[in-house]
């Protein structure tokens, strides 16, 4: 577990003052899930993704999504090779270990769904040939919450593919001072030391599955899910898939915290980032406010 602490410390050197978000992002990776970052431009999304790739020694590619992008631009395309007289596949950027999908909501639904399918299946089928994606495979997608002109909003079914959604937000004043005083960020990222490699990460992910939960904890998770379903301020409650994701994320969080069993606090810690992007509130209610009120009102210990 020291490796994880070290990894956090390394990434923390370039993404300053965002320990909570870093921990969540790491949790997401350990839980083998994809991450959606919703933020304004220039908040350090790319730096975060890049730093994660560095620290875990992952292949890293970045794709800027635009509205004229086609699925082939991401997945790859078959080209005819005159020398061998055969078609060969030219792999798209998706064949990497960590893909930063910048401004995913700028692409057309067709292109979005091509990526999202690859995310879910962890394989790509082109011209009838199915090719597995490298392992591990993570997608960090970003979305600009403010500038919505000319975008295709991700539907809820697609948002469900992301295990977590976080936003970094502005840095605190003292952190920002430090940031301004520091040197070239790109250079700093390049200087980051690798802590584990991809294989090590996958082993850790297997450990996550072995983190223990008791009947009482599962009960609590179920009560939370039930509360979203019976609360009529939400359009619809959380799906069983979301429930499984919540539990997996809570396990990963417990692992990062250095425990081999899950506490209700672990569930509460990942609750907002796992649940909120999958819910929508009726008539102008705030999802965040309602989901936080559920944490307040759902008894942790059975009454």
């Amino acid at each position: 577990m020291q490796a994880l602490d070290k990894a956090l410390a390394q990434v923390g050197r370039v993404v300053l003052g965002k320990e909570e978000q870093l921990k969540l992002a790491l949790t997401c990776m350990l839980a083998n899930g994809h991450l959606l970052i919703e933020d304004l431009p220039g908040m350090g999304k790319t730096t975060l993704a890049h730093a994660l790739a560095r620290v875990f020694q992952l292949d890293y590619r970045r794709v800027q999504f635009t509205s004229d992008m086609l699925p082939a631009d991401i997945l790859g395309v078959s080209v005819f090779d005159p020398n061998t007289q055969q078609f060969s596949l030219r792999e798209g950027p998706v064949f990497t270990q960590l893909l930063l999908a910048d401004e995913i909501n700028r692409a057309t639904p067709k292109t979005q769904s091509a990526l999202l399918e690859a995310m879910e299946e962890r394989q790509v089928t082109l011209d009838g040939v199915t090719r597995p994606l490298p392992a591990p495979f993570f997608v960090v997608a970003t979305q600009n919450p403010v500038d919505q002109a000319g975008t295709f909003v991700l539907p809820e079914s697609q948002l469900d593919r992301f295990l977590m959604r976080i936003s970094l937000g502005y840095p605190a004043p003292d952190v920002e001072l430090e940031l301004l005083a520091g040197g070239d960020l790109r250079q700093q990222v390049r200087e980051l030391k690798a802590v584990i490699n991809g294989e090590g990460l996958m082993k850790l992910a297997q450990v996550v599955g072995k983190i223990r939960v008791t009947r009482e904890l599962l009960d609590y998770v179920q009560r939370l899910l039930d509360a979203t379903r019976s609360d009529d301020r939400f359009v619809a409650g959380l799906s069983p898939r979301a429930g499984l994701g919540l539990l997996r994320a809570a396990r990963a969080w417990a692992l990062i915290t250095g425990r081999d069993y899950v506490l209700p606090e672990d569930v509460q810690a990942v609750w907002a980032s796992v649940a909120e992007h999958r819910l929508s509130a009726r008539q102008g209610g705030s999802v965040a406010a309602i989901s936080q009120s559920l944490l307040q009102s759902v008894p942790v210990v059975r009454r």
Partner: protein, 678 residues
């Protein structure tokens, strides 16, 4: 969580609706200015809620109050009494609504609203009104739920749903209380008569009065038979006997020398000899047992077949074999009757009574007298004279019609010998006159004849158009015998009712262009009418007539012997049973396997800490609970953290098995903690 002490915005619409609905019955029947006042109040409230204006100040409110009181006094002439009192209450209710700001005001308004609802039932107790009041109560309950809801973003429909559920849950309880809670007779008799003239009988009969009634299809009364129903030709519902004739109209009269006390027997005190005579005949021949539910008439007389025997208080028997209520019938009333037709022959005819029954004014009906005298000479007995007269009506060209020509000069002679077109009152009047002229004691009886049967409830509906007049003659050895001369002219009237009689005759002519509204139609409308009547009837027999007496009989059937203890125990047992069933349902619906001792442990501490004045949400985890304690009571910080650490390992680490020893340890930690809390 901070409490909102203002009426939240999501409840304002419900408040407006509840106030309007509660007041509506009064507004519809009250003076016009009251509607105006309410419209004004609701409009001001709407503007205030939209923040278009401020609430009116003290001066305007005082002016409105004084205006409302003055106008109430102007409209009703007083400020007390049921009508004026309720009108004043409703006006004040509206004005109270005008000044509602805080939650406390809303409470006052809503409690007042329940009371206003109850006053609506003073004036009408129909099933529809009951449903309406129920609706008002759901709205009021929705408001109560709303003003107690702390979430400002709550939706209004949620309150209505909750109120509906609460009301539905209360229904079984209501039924139990309705059946079991002892009823006291009303302490005062509130005369809530809507003074309007109603269609119905009057206490005299002049030509044309009953035919007017036959244009109304309003309900007169209903009859529910306990056993056999008499055949249609026997269904004569006597209301009044008219013994005094002034040459034109027949009126009620008491024989000279008799006082009302001797004429009416209320069941109390020693029975007069005529009552004994009638009672002796109670087991003669066939008898019919039935319940009559009479619509308000504002009169004292009641309707029954001869000879009626009643057992309940409040109803007296009159010497002319009628029932008389002790108070005017101002609300629907029901009474149980056993009629024994044959008992009539037991009744003696006193000399002064006979004199009255033979009296006719000297100057009227000279030709008729001649005719009567002629029959007298030709016949051997009184009964033969009666037959003679009926034969006369049958054989001469008499017509049964709703629109008889106007009678000029002497009504008796003019009808008998010239126009010969008439309605039942003409036949009854002239026949009685003829009998008296022939020396046979006779009188006119008015009431209702027939009635249509509701096929759902198998009860009889008697409507105003069933009003009828006939005669009774006193024959030696038979007592008072009913003779219906109309039956001699138009037998269908007696056998099949007014409509059949009129259709049978030369239709257009007989109806005389009169619209007979409200005759039970056929098809869907008829079915609906029948259902509506059935519901109303059942409502009356099952709900409204459930008084202390009926309650006693129901309870003695249920409990055997009615003692306060038994009633109280039954009440408690049934309420407990009901709540138990509800609890069972809840348990069955979400099967909460009972709390483990570990889980109880948490909530004990949670409760204790809250009891010590630290507000906690149910969603705190054990260590958050410990931190909350540490924040409030720094002395208790370390034992609290110990407890939490130990507790969460016990509950969430699967390798720790919950053992008795652990529990003891935790309890010890908790007890140590308790001492540090206060």
């Amino acid at each position: 969580m901070a409490r909102i002490y203002q009426v939240p915005s999501h409840t304002r619409l419900w408040l407006t609706l509840a106030v309007t609905f509660c007041a509506l019955p009064q507004l519809l029947k009250g003076p016009l200015w009251q509607g105006g006042l309410f419209a004004l109040v609701v409009a001001i409230r709407a503007l205030v809620n939209r923040q278009r204006m401020a609430l009116p100040g003290r001066i305007i409110r005082s002016l409105l109050l004084m205006g409302a009181v003055a106008l109430t006094f102007y409209s009703f002439g007083r400020l007390y009494g049921p009508e004026a009192g309720v009108a004043l209450l409703v006006s004040l209710f509206g004005l109270k609504y005008l000044e509602v700001v805080s939650q406390r005001d809303a409470y006052v308004l809503l409690v007042l609203g329940f009371f206003v609802c109850a006053t609506s039932l003073l004036f009408s107790q129909s099933p529809l009104m009951f449903l309406y009041v129920l609706l008002c109560m759901v709205l009021l309950t929705a408001c109560l739920a709303g003003i107690n809801h702390s979430d400002t973003r709550a939706s209004g429909m949620q309150h209505l749903k909750r109120a509906g559920i609460i009301m539905a849950q209360a229904v079984p309880l209501m039924l139990i209380l309705f059946v079991l809670v002892p009823r006291v007779a009303p302490l005062w008799n509130m005369q809530v008569g809507n003074g309007k003239a109603r269609t119905g009988m009057t206490d005299s009969m002049a030509p044309g009065q009953i035919s007017e009634l036959s244009e109304s299809s309003a309900l007169a009364f209903r009859v529910a038979f306990d056993g056999d129903m008499p055949p249609p030709a026997e269904r004569y519902w006597r209301g009044l006997t008219l013994s005094h004739f002034d040459g034109r109209a027949w009126q009620q009269a008491i024989p000279r020398g008799m006082d009302e006390a001797g004429y009416l027997y209320s069941g109390r005190g020693p029975a007069p000899d005529w009552v004994d005579a009638l009672t002796a005949g109670r087991s003669d021949g066939t008898s019919y047992a039935y319940q009559v539910i009479v619509e308000p008439t504002q009169r004292r007389w009641l309707f029954a077949m001869p000879v009626p025997f009643v057992s309940e208080g409040g109803v007296s028997l009159a010497r002319d074999m009628r029932l008389v209520a002790n108070n005017p019938v101002s609300q629907r009333q029901s009474y149980q009757v056993v009629s024994v037709p044959a008992a009539t022959r037991r009744l003696p005819l006193a000399a002064e009574e006979k004199a009255l029954m033979l009296s006719i004014p000297d100057e009227s009906g000279r030709r008729a007298r001649g005719l009567a005298q002629q029959w007298r000479l030709e016949s051997q007995s009184d009964a033969a004279v009666v037959q003679q007269a009926l034969r006369y009506f049958r054989q001469q060209p008499f017509h049964y019609t709703l629109r008889p020509p106007k009678l000029v000069a002497d009504p008796i002679d003019d009808f008998l010998f010239r126009s010969r077109k008439g309605f039942c009152e003409h036949y009854a009047s002239s026949f009685t006159f003829l009998m008296r002229a022939a020396g046979i004691p006779a009188r006119v009886v008015v009431g209702y004849q027939g009635g249509e049967q509701n096929s759902l409830g198998s009860h009889l509906l008697v409507r105003q158009y069933d009003a009828h007049a006939w005669s009774e003659v006193w024959l030696e050895g038979q007592g008072w015998v009913r003779v219906d001369p109309t039956g001699a002219v138009a037998p269908e009237r007696v056998e099949r009712g007014l409509r059949a009689a009129l259709e049978e005759g030369d239709s257009g002519d007989a109806l005389g262009g009169i619209q007979l509204d409200g005759f039970a139609g056929s098809g869907l409308l008829g079915v609906m009418r029948e259902w509506a009547d059935y519901v109303d009837f059942r409502w009356q027999t099952w709900v409204l007539s459930y008084d202390s007496q009926l309650q006693l009989s129901v309870l003695s059937k249920l409990l055997g012997q009615v003692t306060p203890l038994r009633v109280a125990v039954t009440l408690m047992v049934s309420v407990a049973l009901l709540l138990g069933l509800y609890g069972l349902y809840l348990f069955w619906r979400n099967p909460v396997h009972s709390q483990s001792p570990m889980e109880k442990e948490f909530w004990r501490l949670h409760q204790r800490v809250q009891g010590c004045g630290l507000a906690l949400s149910p969603g705190v985890t054990p260590s958050q609970l410990a931190e909350a304690i540490a924040g409030r009571w720094p002395r208790a910080a370390s034992p609290a953290r110990d407890w939490a650490r130990y507790y969460q390992r016990a509950l969430y680490d699967p390798r720790q098995k919950a053992s008795k020893q652990q529990m003891r340890h935790l309890r010890g930690l908790r007890n140590r903690l308790y001492k540090l809390l206060d």
